[in-house]
Symmetry: C2
Subunit: 358 residues, 2 copies
């Protein structure tokens, strides 16, 4: 079968490769891939910064954002049938089966030895077929047979947002009104939609102009778009109940600390390049204390966030029918991976690869 | 009556002053003060950095750590009687009566306009008598008629610890084993005892030598004492489930970020002097994200923490009978405030002032 692969840690080894169709084990399913989404993690793997092939293999099939149909069931699989529209989650248990992993919460793995399809030690979904442990499969409604590929990026903010509410409600009486989203890539736009669904006033900040596609999509949800080049953070005249930091820019992450009000919370979701910066750390920590503030990081998402995300994707599609399809700015086949994996324009938001099943 | 007062924001205006005995209102109590404890906040007020007199007054009575007996009840007070051994909490509602304040959680006040006895807009307890709203009074068992003055400093870590557990249990399966306490002043020693009561392995770090009183008290609870001059943070060979940062030193606060393991939590409790420091912020935020880590600040304590603290004080007293009395290294009367408010030796931990009721 056709698969998009890399030799991990070898820059620019991206290629289309012919590899064997995987054979599902007793509790596994064989998936026919409809489409996969491309994100920054894929590009980091292609650049050689990241990625790990399965044990004994010299290549890694890319792709962790996917939409598939069940092609074949292992003999021990229950609750799924051939033809079901599904999304597999990304992370799998560590060999030690730590207390998080053994409870299907590998997103909170304690050992760091978890596996990730398409990223770390397991092949991904950028191929005609893929296999997955059947207990990590989320069924999708047929209404999402085109756009369900956006579930995985949505789960990142599903986790961040649910954890934000759990954390805040565990420690205080919290009635958030205003949220700030830093970054308006695919995840930022989905975060904005999710927060608007929850009834919050939302400002989203990014570097594109006010008439860009990103700005237009943000504003279509009733949120306000702020161009950071026109309005620096220091000029924002109020403080937010919470902030989602999605830019992956360390200087922006530092600024985020100042943008929350008393009892506020910042959820960090980016991966930040090394960045030496001089900060008044005395002020940062004093404000953390005197304001009862909270900063937390969140990575990946377990199956519960995929399940709630599937419902939210339906709600978003119903409320703003053009939003999700507008996030997908380019589609292509797998035959020229260099072309589809490289952004073509400033207005590009999310590129997807369609496989023969689509 | 005798009261220890300052003119707020006037350095070194500390004095013994004769002031009128307060008159309790309908739902207030008049308290006969037995003893008060002295802490860093008192010294910051004396230095003129901090503090605010009650409206219309040109002096502030000091003292927020206290142990008292009920002397007189306002006509609308229920559930208390004359002679009860009690501790009043410190913070009171903001005039706006925000959602936290109106639920007796002024420690999480949203407006910042809260009042604090002995600190901000309300007289404190460093006097022969004081008055308080009766709904902020915690009854103490007679077994704590000497040592109950340590309740208020304990409540700071009661809040920090309860919030730590609430936060962690709201977001993951958490079975902490190892905790680190940074700082071994009165609050650090009480934090160590509290964590040991909860069955955790505890390391406490401070600058005093291994044969100091502080080190001895820490080790009497079964915790390990680390002299930071002999063993820098970078040499600590494992990561902790959580860290209590109590030093109020901004550089130590920065180091605390590195000392927690994956899924770990740092609770910051200090007030930090301005301190410009160069940090690899990219690394800090990436580790926050990839490790699902959490940093939060905590200030003050509401009445629920005083109530749980009173129970823990009894447990600490039972388990380590010499610990609490050893924390109180000096006692004096109110007549020479300069003497009792200034530390006399490196070995001093907690000084208290005894009033005529004691």
């Amino acid at each position: 079968m056709k698969a998009i692969t890399v030799t991990p840690r070898t820059p620019n080894s991206l290629r289309l490769q012919d590899v064997p169709v995987p054979v599902p084990g007793k509790r596994e399913v064989l998936l026919r891939v409809l489409r996969i989404g491309i994100c920054g993690t894929d590009r980091d793997i292609i650049s050689g910064f990241y990625g790990e092939a399965p044990a004994g293999s010299d290549y890694l099939i890319l792709g962790h954002e996917s939409l598939c149909r069940i092609e074949k069931l292992g003999p021990g699989v229950r609750g799924l049938k051939i033809g079901d529209l599904v999304v597999p989650t990304v992370r799998r248990s560590c060999p030690e089966n730590c207390v998080s992993c053994r409870n299907h919460q590998s997103d909170m793995c304690y050992t760091g030895h978890y596996f990730e399809h398409g990223i770390k030690g397991l092949n991904g979904f950028a191929a005609e077929f893929a296999k997955s442990d059947s207990s990590y499969i989320v069924k999708m409604p047929e209404s999402l047979s085109e756009l369900g590929v956006l579930l995985e990026p949505l789960t990142i903010v599903e986790k961040g947002l649910l954890q934000t509410y759990l954390l805040q409600k565990s420690r205080l009486i919290w009635k958030p009104e205003r949220a700030l989203v830093l970054g308006a890539g695919p995840v930022g736009i989905l975060a904005t939609a999710l927060l608007r669904l929850r009834g919050l006033e939302v400002d989203a900040v990014a570097t594109r102009s006010k008439d860009s596609v990103k700005a237009t999509l943000v504003e279509s949800t009733g949120a306000s778009y702020i161009n950071s080049k026109e309005m620096p953070f220091s000029s924002l005249d109020y403080k937010y109940d919470f902030v989602f930091e999605l830019t992956g820019n360390a200087s922006v992450a530092v600024s985020a600390q100042d943008l929350i009000r008393v009892n506020g919370i910042v959820c960090y979701l980016g991966i930040y390049r090394e960045d030496q910066e001089t900060q008044n750390v005395g002020k940062v920590f004093t404000e953390l204390v005197l304001g009862n503030k909270l900063h937390f990081g969140s990575v990946n998402a377990n199956i519960t966030y995929f399940q709630s995300g599937a419902k939210d994707l339906v709600r978003i599609q119903k409320k703003w029918p053009k939003l999700l399809s507008s996030i997908i700015t380019r589609k292509g086949g797998p035959d020229d991976p260099q072309k589809i994996y490289n952004p073509e324009s400033e207005e590009e938001i999310k590129s997807i690869v369609e496989f023969s099943g689509a």
